[in-house]
Amino acid sequence: MKIFNYHSAKDVKEASKLSSSRSAFLAGGMTTIPSMKLGLASYKDIINIKGIKKLSGIKISGKKVTIGSTTRHAEVANSKEIKKAIPSLSALAEGIGDPQVRNRGTIGGSIANNDPAADYPSACIALNAVIHTNNRKIDAEKFFRGMFETSLKSGEIIESIEFAIPQKSSYQKYPNPASRYAIVGVYVAKHKSGVNVAVTGAKSCVYNDKNLSDILSKSFSADAINNTKISASGMNSDIHASADYRANMVKVFC
């Protein structure tokens, strides 16, 4: 690990002010620190935002679940309110990594990193999430831009994520047997306005499968997609799974 300056920000304003093109915000550090240890990343400044109280916590109001960006996966997994409002979301959090990761890793860190195989981005897409930053509100569909790429600007900090409570929803994944990241994860959510089928792990970035979403919006049943072919085009292929296998898994989990 290369030498860096460590800062513990007392509020969002200070954190933002300290940031530069050579800095990183630290919350759970579940990706940042291993990357630094492996020499894959190095920063001049590490700005810890974990001490900023207002970034953590869970709020349920009416049709929305709002989760602070530094809320840990374990808190989401164990929250009685979320279990009641969106059981698939707490189940997703319960399935991330291992107990150590769940007790440190945060929802904001996960979506800011936008790992193509991360679980949370699919929840954001499927649950029509709005990402609140210190500057603006961003719709999930516009937030995830590409592999490890988001629409966050330099110095911009995610404050919370606001999920719409669906009528029905489910998240299924086939974890990479080694890393336990999703080889394919499919989040299906039925809202009054229609159905979202969000897919993670399969391509370079999470996406909403419009075709499957449309079909299920018309008829919300497993049989509805029986004759739908999922194209393997654009899907990842690696030592763990081919594009064809991933395409199959999208359908199996949908």
């Binding site: 290369k2 080694a178 030592i239 081919s242 199996v252």
Partner: protein, 790 residues
């Protein structure tokens, strides 16, 4: 006192190990400590044009930067291949030079090029980035199967072939195959594995310029072997000036049997800079540079009669030994593999031919089971296929070919002293509820899952080994074991063993043995190992040998203690020696109440005379003290055997395969501590099931290791397994007085074929290891398409 042998004594070492009080090599720090970081080749194969250390040498904190040129100048010898194999044509195996720091070429990703030594690890690592190596990149040879037809890696080694070895009689096999009703054939791959000991390798060498002594702490299964190699072959220091200590070691599985480049370099460098040099591998370095395991491509054939009788066996194997011939890299695919390839069965004619090839991958050496898992996978998948093709029950075909008279001389090499294969198979079928399998299969089907069952009946040759035999076969060392039993004057005991515990539980098992032999409470016995300055020379721990060879040495040393004790007790009790019996820690005179405890006798041995109340004159000519040493060389290997049944469930939609029932019945002869033995079986099964379903080392075509972290290398976890149902049968070994047979490797040997036979049974088509979800899904699809087409 009740006998401790056979009881479930809790592991004495666990309190220390589970509470973080173990002392590992990385925990050791000397004053004036420096830290080493190795510059490793990023290329699988390249010529080294130039190594420029000028910038690195001036970097902050750097103490020294040493290269292959330095090590060559100091005439430090290369790493060795410890077992000489001859080819079928009588020629010697071909071995490339393996300098501890590469001088002319690098031959795998991770190969050692230079070492940077600095005041801190961070400084060493940062400076390592400044070492500029000018490489001429060459085309790498990666695939086992193609190695003989690829670019030649070493000038003097045509076809990249180390040797072309034959065991058995081709003519007799040909004859046997001509008489066959049917010939069953398989083409299989034994997938390459990375050992992944919990503790990464490490070394810390300290040099004392006034005494010219080097003390090397290292993660070794075998400190005595490390000392003799670093001394006699690498020439770093004379044996009397080199002390090797292997303190607590966190697992080895074979990968820590022998010294690597790092230990040699740290010892040499410590002497050169006159400061202690410490190196601790990070996990990526472990993946890259620990010796790997397995990696065979095999074609095998079995000649059978229609009634299932085996007539002959052929085995043509290509074994990848990596870029260099490692210490046991050449024996693993030959004498540890070939003799076991006919399995437990009566096999009138057989041969095994192994072509060992060099590739631009990490060296391959012994890994839990070493050769025997490869052998067992070959014969056991072949036998199960024979059963399918002949329409026989997999148990029936096995029983038909079991030998029943022991000792049984196998066709190839081994004379198996004892066993009862029928008893084991019957017991596992009962424990594993073989009769009701169809019911469970239907239940799985009702949930949309495929269920399959697979057998494995194995034997293995371990407890290595009789020195005259292994030396005749090309081994450069003997393989006996030593023990020293030292009574302290106050009656407690230290037992030194030349074997080494790195998870096996010797502190407990060996103490049980000594407690029974000497009649001393187990709490009064310490087991010492892992320091060449403390106990006598020994050959370490691997090949399931510690108990059968090392444990026996302890028994023999205890016998000598008792023999001396009788002489001394007789004198103390004023009777003749032949009137004294030894029972439960007491020397007693028959038909009298005269007796002395062994503690009293020990005390007398240390105070041989009269002093106040003490009256303990020793017999004339008897030396004072009570300490005895024994060196034990067994007359034969030990031959554990067993029968395992695995049931798997396959999800056809995802291909996901789960072991849902696993039953193992093993014959390890006499069991000293069932708790520890069960733990050994569990660990072995986890590794065996891991190989069958999850683990796979993958190099890409350019020789880059893709599975170089836990993100890509699937280490199985607890949730990948089901409960293991274990049972035991017992036919004591005749080659050691305890009657024990090795148990450490059995699970890793038996599980892969049991699991794969179950997978093949479930999906109805052959598939190679590891049976990953995608592979199983693809195989199911292909089969479904074929049956639709038909």
């Amino acid at each position: 006192m009740a006998s401790l042998v056979g009881s479930r004594v809790e592991r004495k070492e666990d309190k220390k190990l589970l509470t973080g009080r173990g002392k590992y090599t990385a925990d050791v720090n000397f004053i004036h400590q420096t830290y080493a970081y190795f510059v490793r080749s990023p290329h699988a194969r390249a010529e080294i044009k130039k190594v420029d250390i000028s910038k690195a040498s001036k970097a902050p904190g750097v103490v020294a930067v040493l290269t292959g040129a330095d090590i060559a100048n100091d005439k430090i010898g290369g790493l060795i291949a410890g077992w000489r194999i001859k080819s079928e044509d009588g020629s010697d195996m071909k071995v490339p030079a393996h300098p501890p720091l590469a001088n002319e070429s690098v031959n795998y990703v991770g190969d050692h090029v230079a070492v940077v030594i600095a005041e801190s690890l961070d400084e060493a690592r940062s400076a390592a980035d400044l070492v500029k190596v000018d490489y001429k990149i060459l085309k790498a040879v990666v695939k086992t199967k193609d190695a003989m037809d690829s670019e030649q890696i070493y000038k003097d080694i045509p076809k990249n072939m180390c040797f072309d070895w034959l065991l058995g009689d081709r003519a007799k096999v040909k004859e046997a195959f001509e008489k066959a009703d049917k010939v069953i054939k398989i083409d299989i791959i034994n997938n390459r594995l990375i050992p992944n000991a919990m503790e990464p390798r490490a070394a810390n060498a300290d040099y004392n310029p006034s005494t010219e002594e080097i003390t090397l702490y290292t993660t070794s299964q075998n400190p005595h072997l490390a000392r003799i190699i670093i001394s006699a072959f690498n020439g770093v220091a004379p044996e009397n000036k080199l002390r090797v200590i292997a303190p607590d070691v966190g697992g080895g599985f074979g990968s820590k049997i022998y010294p690597y480049a790092e230990e040699v370099v740290c010892s040499w460098a410590a002497k050169k800079i006159e400061r202690p040099v410490k190196w601790v591998a990070d996990r990526t370095e472990s993946f890259l540079s620990d010796c790997h395991g397995r990696d065979h491509v095999t074609h095998a054939e079995l000649a059978v009669k229609n009634d299932g009788t085996f007539l002959g066996f052929k085995n043509e194997t290509i074994a990848n030994i990596g870029a260099y011939a490692s210490v046991f890299g050449t024996v693993t695919p030959t004498y540890l593999f070939g003799p076991c390839a006919t399995g437990v069965y009566k096999m009138p004619a057989a041969y095994t031919n192994v072509k060992a090839v060099y590739t631009n991958t990490a060296p391959v050496d012994a890994y839990r089971g070493a050769g025997r898992p490869e052998a067992t996978y070959t014969i056991e998948t072949l036998v199960e296929k024979a059963a399918r093709e002949l329409g026989m029950d997999p148990a029936e075909i096995r029983m038909k070919n079991f030998p029943t008279e022991f000792p049984y001389q196998q066709t190839l090499v081994h004379s198996v002293d004892s066993g009862d294969y029928n008893a084991g198979l019957k017991k596992v079928m009962e424990l594993g509820e073989y009769e009701s399998f169809e019911k469970r299969k239907k239940e799985s089907e009702s949930r949309g899952k495929l269920r399959g069952i697979g057998f494995c009946t194995y034997f293995e040759a371990c407890g290595i080994a009789p020195s005259p035999v292994v030396m005749m076969l090309g081994c450069g060392i003997g393989l006996w074991e030593s023990a020293e039993v030292r009574f302290n004057p106050t009656g407690n005991v230290t037992v030194f063993t030349g074997s080494h515990s790195h998870g096996q539980g010797h502190d407990t098992t060996f103490a049980q043995i000594a407690a029974d032999q000497l009649g001393v409470p187990i709490e009064s016995i310490e087991i010492a190992h892992g320091d060449t300055d403390k106990g006598p020379f020994g050959y370490g721990t691997y090949g399931s040998r510690s108990l059968t060879v090392g444990g026996t040495a302890i028994v023999k040393a205890c016998d000598k203690i008792v023999a001396k004790g009788k002489r001394v007790a007789a004198k103390m009790l004023e009777v003749n020696e032949d009137e004294v019996d030894f029972n439960n820690g007491e020397f007693v005179v028959a038909k009298s109440n005269k007796k002395k405890t062994i503690g009293e006798v020990a005390f007398a041995c240390y105070l041989p005379g009269t002093y106040g109340e003490v009256k303990s004159p020793l017999p004339d000519g008897e030396e004072p003290g009570l300490k005895e040493t024994s060196f034990f060389d067994p007359a034969n290997f030990s031959f554990p055997a067993g029968s395992h049944i695995c049931e798997v469930e396959v999800d056809q939609d995802t291909g996901e395969t789960k072991v849902v029932k696993y039953t193992a019945v093993d014959d390890f002869g006499t069991i000293i501590n069932p708790l520890i033995v069960e733990g050994q079986v569990h660990g072995g099964l986890a590794q065996g099931i891991g190989q069958a379903l999850y683990e796979n080392c993958h190099y890409d075509n350019s020789g880059q290791l893709i599975t170089a972290s836990y993100m890509d290398y699937t280490m199985p976890r607890a949730d990948n397994f089901t409960d293991f149902n274990l049972g035991f049968t017992c036919t004591p070994a005749t080659s050691n007085p305890l009657g024990t047979k090795g148990c450490g490797e059995a699970g890793a040997i038996a599980a892969p074929p049991a699991v794969m036979n179950a997978v093949i049974d479930a999906i109805g088509t052959e598939i190679s290891m590891p049976a990953t979800a995608e592979k199983v899904w693809t195989a199911c699809n292909k089969k479904n398409k074929n049956s639709e087409a038909a």
